[in-house]
Amino acid sequence: MIQVNGDPLQWTPGMTVRGVLKAKNYQFKMLVVSIDGAQVQRADYDTALIPDGAVVQVLHLISGG
């Protein structure tokens, strides 16, 4: 199990940032993602692996008109 923005999410082996975004249906582009406090660059979303028990923050920047 991992935590994503404070909510639990089932962990699976080989889980990447991209996988988390898909699982959470996070479609907004203006994101700042960190795994256990370490920031992940957008270019690494497909390859950055998330360990079991990780705390993932997916910070959505402000949007709206």
Binding site: N5, G6, N25, Y26, Q27, F28, K29, M30, V32, Q39, R42, Q57, V58, L59, H60, L61, I62, S63, G64, G65
Partner: protein
């Protein structure tokens, strides 16, 4: 197909511009009917360090035309833009003034940095008046060329007071130094026709059309309380006028009540250094930096240059935030029909879409080649701006309209009739829910079948509003007054009408679902002018990121963002280049949500223009003075207290069984984990009541926390200590009001 799927391949919009309907026939006859009622000469001037140090006052009733000095106190306490507007309005009205009294004013003020051409989004004006919908000051932020051209003609603001006895045009010629009030008896009414004729009429040749900007409204402003103002610019590539709107609060209605048919400004040819800034090089360098960001990053971020703000239609749907069927729900299976990729294909690309010179964001997307199916312009081919997100959501999903052509037609008629799209979207959705629940029926609507998604009936209601007849007349009073009218007629339960009528302070909500974000509930209802998202959009921070877990955290966000965003309106900036594009390394900063590098850009632009060095604290202080002054202005006009910050329950939680059941898992979880009540076995009505009690108590605690952070009393009155911090205690009338209300 769901909104989450990849965009389908759509053919790009190809339009034969020569087929577009033009509207300059009869121009000479219209011109010949003009009669000069008053003409005054003035000395055109350019600003020095952003200020002309004078404003223009015109009384439409007495035809008095005056130049007024901009005092040091005005600059120190109110900066410009919205600040100047509120200052002038304060002195024009009394607590007894209502929107249609002659002393009510419309003030248009661009702000000291407005008009620079180096930095995207720097051509905004703020329009201020006592609103016919709220009876308190409304402020509306608008693009188009009028404000900057007014400024480059020699004035930091335009004050319009009094009421004419006949239709007039106010013409300000910033090249020749002439101000003229002209009787205008034969002018067409609707904006897309009127503005095109006036642009051609007042330009001395084809090239001069770029120096003309028109402010006007349309037929609906004469028959409703929700009229807006269009500000134009001449689109050279398309060969037509374009419209940007000062939409909120019914300023167009005030405009027509004064019998102003149009304002026309003919400014000088725009050049790069017309503000006479102290440090042109910094303006240029700061602008180049943002131009590069837009060029290299926009396609992978918001695609503002392709879609404008409509880029978030499917995003809002994915996060359950897209208002659907009068804010009952947050998504819909048909959203893909009005998603951003539809508009990307429908709007012409690779053309000039900035509403002021130098804006490389250029988000005012133009949909060309729309052939109208209804109304007085049926069969005409027109260009319509948009839709922006608010229009797609308000005129689209919130009313259940998912046909892009009808949505564009609704958008077009709102613009040309002078109707605020946000307001119309919310009031149409309200009427449709009333229809769904039997509060309205065909007999009561005069035959309109206001079933969800019935775009033809929706359009007919709008045409009625413009003609001043039928149910459209009632709808044009806005949600607040419709609730009273329906209840007085015995149509529906008054409490239900209050719960589902999405207005606060008399103004309709803009198009985001705040139900699951307590901070955003405050972001809407704890505003000065009424629920518009331009003060604080904190849904993602609160609901998705969970960055604001405590009341104090939410209060801090509702302290900072309204002040930060007020500042744009003091200076003449557009908000969009602040956060709809972000530097590549923004994520590495300590507060990415604030986009610190862009905040620094704004400080640099201010200093480079005016020569006054400010830091972030001073920026917030400048805003806080105006923000608190506006709050006290509201109190002066009989609102502005805690009771006026109460939201309709639809914005806080589920009103109906269907709403509860659509998110039962979320609400049941909250009941169990936060309220401490086991929802198992409880009927839905009981669960709705328990949730309501909890959520309204939570909202009340939010008010306490926000008022405390803002330096206000528990009743929402700025304290004397706060006034002293802000330097507003030098204004005796302000002090008197605060003291009279226990501040």
């Amino acid at each position: 197909m769901t909104p989450n799927q990849a965009a389908p391949a759509l053919s790009p919009c190809t339009v034969d511009y020569s087929q577009r309907t033009e509207y300059h026939e009869g121009l000479e006859a219209i011109r010949a009917a003009h009669r000069v009622l008053r003409e005054v000469r003035f000395s055109p001037s350019l600003p020095d360090k952003g200020y002309n140090n004078r404003t223009l006052y015109v009384n439409l009733g007495t035809r008095e035309v005056l130049e007024k000095p901009v005092t040091q106190l005005m600059k120190d306490l109110f900066v410009g833009g919205r600040g100047f507007g509120l200052w002038h309005l304060w002195h024009a009205v009394t607590p007894a003034t209502r929107w249609n009294d002659p002393e009510n004013e419309i003030i248009i003020a661009p702000g000291p940095v407005a008009g620079i051409t180096q930095y995207p989004g720097s051509g905004k004006s703020l329009v201020v008046a006592i609103s016919p919908q709220t009876d308190i000051p409304i402020d509306s932020n608008v693009g188009g060329y009028f404000g900057p051209l007014l400024k480059f003609s020699g004035f930091d603001a335009l004050e319009l007071q009094g009421k004419s006895d006949r239709d007039v045009i106010l013409f300000i010629d910033g090249q020749k130094g002439i101000i003229r009030v002209e009787e205008a008896p034969l002018e067409p009414v609707d904006s897309h026709v009127l503005a095109e004729i006036l642009t051609r009429m007042y330009a001395e040749d084809e090239a001069d059309r770029s120096n003309i900007s028109v402010v006007c409204t349309g037929a609906a402003a004469e028959h409703s309380l929700i009229g807006m103002l269009n500000f134009t610019w001449w689109d050279k590539r398309r060969g037509c006028i374009r419209l940007k709107q000062a939409g909120r609060g019914g300023i167009g209605t005030v405009f027509r009540d004064k019998k102003i048919r149009a304002l026309v400004c003919r400014g000088p040819v725009v050049k790069a250094d017309m503000n006479h800034p102290v440090d042109f090089e910094t303006l240029a360098k700061t602008g180049i930096k943002l131009h590069k960001e837009l060029r290299t990053l926009d396609d992978s971020q918001c695609k503002m240059r392709r879609n404008g703000t409509a880029h978030i239609v499917e995003i809002m749907d994915a996060y359950d935030l897209l208002p659907t069927h009068n804010f009952q729900f947050g998504s819909h299976p048909d959203t893909h029909k009005i998603a951003s990729y539809v508009w990307e294909a429908r709007c012409s690309q690779m053309t000039s879409d900035g509403c002021w010179y130098g804006c490389s964001m250029g988000c005012a997307k133009g949909a060309d080649g729309l052939v109208l199916k209804t109304g007085p312009y049926k069969g005409h081919m027109v260009t319509v701006d948009g839709p922006e997100y608010e229009n797609a959501a308000g005129l689209g999903s919130n009313a259940g309209v998912f046909d892009p052509d009808y949505l564009l037609e609704l958008n077009f008629y709102c613009d040309t009739y002078g109707i605020c799209t946000i307001t119309y979207g919310t009031l149409a959705a309200f009427t449709m829910e009333c229809y769904q629940r039997g509060i309205l029926n065909k007999e009561r609507t005069g035959g309109l079948d206001l079933t969800w998604g019935n775009a033809e009936a929706d359009l007919e209601m709008m045409h009625q509003m413009a003609r001043g007849e039928g149910f459209g007349l009632i709808a044009g009073q806005g949600v607040h007054k419709m609730k009273t009218i329906f209840a007085a007629n015995g149509w529906g339960d008054a409490q239900l009408l209050q719960d589902i009528g999405m207005e606060n302070k008399g103004l309709e909500y803009s198009q985001y679902l705040s139900k699951e974000s307590l901070a955003q509930q405050g972001g809407y209802a704890l505003t000065n002018k009424g629920p518009q998202h331009d003060e604080a959009w904190v849904i993602f921070m609160d609901m998705v990121n969970k960055q604001l877990p405590t009341f104090e955290d939410k209060a801090e966000a509702l302290y900072y963002f309204p002040l930060f965003r007020t500042w744009f309106g003091l200076l003449g900036f557009c908000k969009l280049p602040w956060n709809d594009i972000a530097p590549a390394d923004n994520g590495s900063t300590s507060e990415p949500a604030k986009i610190p590098e862009h905040v620094q850009n704004y400080l640099d632009l201010f200093t480079a223009t005016t020569g006054m060095k400010i830091d972030r604290e001073t920026m917030l202080l400048q805003s806080a003075r105006v923000y608190n002054f506006q709050r006290i202005f509201n109190i002066r006009m009989g609102k502005g207290l805690r009771a006026n910050d109460l939201p309709p329950y639809r914005s806080v939680g589920p009103v109906t069984r269907e709403e509860y059941e659509s998110r039962a898992e979320r609400y049941d979880k909250q009941m169990l984990e936060e309220i401490g009540v086991d929802p198992a076995g409880k009927p839905v009505a009981e669960k709705i009541a328990i949730t309501r009690e909890y959520r309204m108590a939570r909202y009340s605690k939010l008010c306490d926390a926000v008022y405390q952070r803002r330096g206000w009393t528990p009743d929402g009155v700025p304290t004397m200590a706060r006034l002293a911090e802000l330097g507003l205690d030098v204004l005796p009338e302000v002090v008197e009001i605060v003291q009279a209300h226990g501040g």
